[in-house]
């Protein structure tokens, strides 16, 4: 088992024929991801990367049974693309696009609550179940099938953690990049709930960063409801307050959301916190083996 995506997932790529969409769809196909269709409005009826192209997500669902979508549509149109996928009944919508306006996400988030769709991202590397399905832009090669679930707000820092875990002979059940924006489709707790039910997952690595209180909320949830061991790392311990560190999410204000506050709450709730980003893998290994 795994969460969110597996070898049977039927993936539709939104923004399929664009530069980003084509590039990453090619890599996903090489990895073995089951891409069944693409959507680019106005290009319906064409074939691209040997897959059918449709004008709408609805057609891709009807004709090819797509149940997972990955969105590469540019930021001004990305919220619309996610709403389209949700309306078409796609179960898992992975939005890679960076730079979606916050108020667009407010609308998307509240609409999604009225549907059965689950959104991952935006502004994230995507979701990968190693050896089965890569739905996103992460380098497939560094991943390895295994029993560590990974949830992260960051992109490249996730790769760093995955790389360490793989090099130590452990692997990942599923790695989920939830994205660094202020409003995201799924938060740590949403994904922890999925890992809790997944027999393949023995331990979870949770990578957070400064800003917001998602890590603190997750820490309290873990203490009350989550039985598997969790290892965490919070980036941004040295970030000066009030400055935006790339991610819209990585901003500290009003004394809330600092790394030290997060680390304290995580530790108080029984979560193992790695001292440096280089210690994430080894901390997981130690905990799994003990």
């Amino acid at each position: 088992m795994s969460i969110l995506v597996n070898k049977d997932s039927r993936i539709v790529v939104q923004g399929f024929t664009g530069r980003e969409g084509s590039f990453h769809a090619t890599h996903m196909i090489e990895y073995g991801t089951n891409i069944v269709a693409g959507v680019t409005p106005g290009k319906g009826g064409l074939k691209h990367l040997e897959r059918p192209v449709f004008n709408t997500v609805e057609e891709a669902v009807k004709n090819e049974g797509a149940d997972v979508s990955v969105v590469f549509v540019p930021a001004p149109f990305a919220a619309d693309a996610v709403l389209e996928a949700a309306t078409a009944g796609v179960k898992v919508i992975v939005c890679i696009t960076e730079g979606i306006p916050t108020l667009d996400m407010v609308k998307v988030k509240h609409y999604l609550k009225t549907t059965d769709s689950r959104m991952i991202g935006p502004n994230c590397p995507g979701v990968i179940t190693p050896g089965e399905s890569k739905v996103g832009i992460m380098p497939g090669k560094i991943h390895k099938k295994g029993h560590v679930g990974v949830i992260s707000r960051s992109g490249t820092l996730t790769y760093e953690a995955v790389y360490q875990i793989s090099n130590l002979g452990l692997g990942q059940s599923t790695a989920v990049g939830i994205g660094g924006d202020p409003i995201i489709g799924s938060n740590f707790i949403d994904i922890l709930k999925l890992f809790a039910r997944d027999d393949e997952t023995q331990a979870v690595v949770m990578i957070g960063e400064i800003g917001g209180t998602a890590e603190e909320d997750a820490a309290r949830y873990i203490k009350e409801n989550f039985d598997k061991p969790v290892v965490s790392f919070i980036s941004g311990q040295t970030a000066p307050p009030g400055r935006r560190m790339g991610h819209a999410g990585a901003i500290i204000s009003g004394g809330k959301g600092t790394a030290s506050e997060k680390i304290k709450v995580l530790k108080d709730n029984g979560i193992h916190v790695a001292d440096t980003p280089a210690d994430i893998g080894i901390t997981v290994k130690r905990i799994i083996e003990s």
């Binding site: 930021a75 509240h110 992460m138 992109g155 760093e160 202020p182 980036s235 970030a239 991610h247 440096t276």
Partner: protein
């Protein structure tokens, strides 16, 4: 994106939110013209992005022309140092000259997006004119919040709740309601991430006026508001940060000695953290981004090396989308022709790492290649001390 108080107030005016009469100028002689229009007493306010201007001497009241001119003379060109500017302060280039307004009551009013509830929230307090963080810490019961669900938008009960909590009388209620409705409209239509009025004042005639104004706009939404991007004042930003933004590089200058170049915001912050963990100080945050091109890497490097405090550079690249060989070529090209003596530690991992490392090895430049993260960080710290 931040804007000046006078720009925020111009936006308020467009949305029929009452503001004091006034105008902005860089020129002391023009102050005479402006005070003719606004009368006395008037207020001269420094226009810089930082808060805490009053305590820093950037806001002065004048009762006559002589006082107004001398206040403007003092403020224009001053180095304003407040809690928010840091010790280096900010040079004041413009002043806002405004009519003095009779104040009966000072309120606080703001709108932001609440990340936890994932919707806009209106925040109001009867304790205006003070630092709101202090009010929130000492008297949290005096901070009133109303969340606005995107499905219903701004509705009558929202403002009723606030006006009764704020204890406003009939006349004040009417004016407050109109202002709040317009402010919320502004917030949505202009894609603000923060609007704040502190203080929002009530006059003897029950008028409600925005005595101060702050707006932050959502950078992600600038594509649909060309008029907002025009308000950007690059004089308020660090010159190196302005240069970086031209190349879409995410750069923030800090005070340390180790220049960092990393791809991805999370890894960039984590790299700063590990430097600090081993006792060093990062000179900057620099995220070269995901789809990094050779040119951008080259520019990034130039910016790093132009910071005179930098004693050593630490390049930490985890190639996912970005190919490490492209980064390597960018670095080598950036250093061609430069005779920098600054030691450069490079860690290249991920996509095409072998090709990338080969380019570095064959470059003839004396790079220090270290692919183990803690060892690379330790090395950078050691070299930054010049030992």
């Amino acid at each position: 994106m931040k804007v000046h108080e006078y720009q925020a107030k111009q936006v308020f005016k467009n949305y029929n939110i009452p503001i004091p009469e006034g105008a902005v100028t860089e020129n002391i002689d023009e102050v005479t013209k402006i005070v003719e229009l606004v009368g006395f007493p008037c207020v001269i306010k420094a226009q810089v992005y930082a808060g805490g201007r009053g305590k820093a001497g950037g806001v002065k009241i004048a009762k006559n022309l002589k006082e107004a001119k001398s206040a403007a003379k003092e403020i224009i060109g001053m180095k304003l140092i407040s809690k928010q500017t840091g010790p280096e302060g900010r040079r004041v280039r413009k002043v806002l000259v405004e009519q003095g307004v009779e104040i009966k009551k000072e309120l606080y009013l703001a709108i932001i997006v609440d990340r936890e509830k994932e919707m806009p929230v209106i925040i109001a307090s009867p304790e205006g004119g003070m630092e709101i963080e202090e009010v929130a810490a000492k008297n949290p019961e005096l901070i009133y919040k109303v969340h606005i669900h995107p499905v219903i938008g701004f509705s009558g009960f929202h403002f009723r709740k606030l006006v009764f909590q704020l204890g406003l009388n009939k006349g004040q209620q009417k004016n407050f309601a109109r202002l709040l409705k317009n402010l919320f409209k502004l917030f949505l239509e202009m894609d603000a991430s923060l609007v704040e009025i502190n203080p929002l004042i009530i006059t003897g005639n029950d008028e409600v006026i925005a005595l101060d104004g702050k707006i932050d706009f959502d950078n992600n939404a600038l594509f649909r508001h060309s008029n907002i991007a025009d308000m950007r004042d690059i004089y308020e930003e660090d010159p190196l940060e302005v240069e970086a933004s031209k190349y879409d590089l995410n750069y923030i200058k800090l005070d340390g000695t180790i220049g960092c170049m990393v791809n991805g915001a999370g890894l960039a912050m984590a790299t700063m953290d590990i430097i600090k963990y081993y006792g060093g100080e990062p000179a900057n945050f620099l995220d070269v981004g995901g789809g990094t091109s050779e040119d951008r890497v080259k520019e990034a490097f130039k910016i790093l090396l132009s910071d005179s405090k930098v004693k050593t550079v630490f390049v930490n690249i985890f190639g996912g989308i970005v190919r490490t060989d492209l980064v390597a070529r960018g670095i080598v090209n950036a250093l061609k022709g430069s005779n920098t003596k600054i030691p450069i530690i490079i860690r290249l991992v991920g996509t095409n790492e072998e090709a990338g490392r080969k380019i570095i090895r064959d470059s003839g430049v004396n790079f220090i290649v270290e692919n183990n993260l803690p060892d690379a960080a330790k090395k950078a710290v050691e070299l930054s001390r010049g030992t």
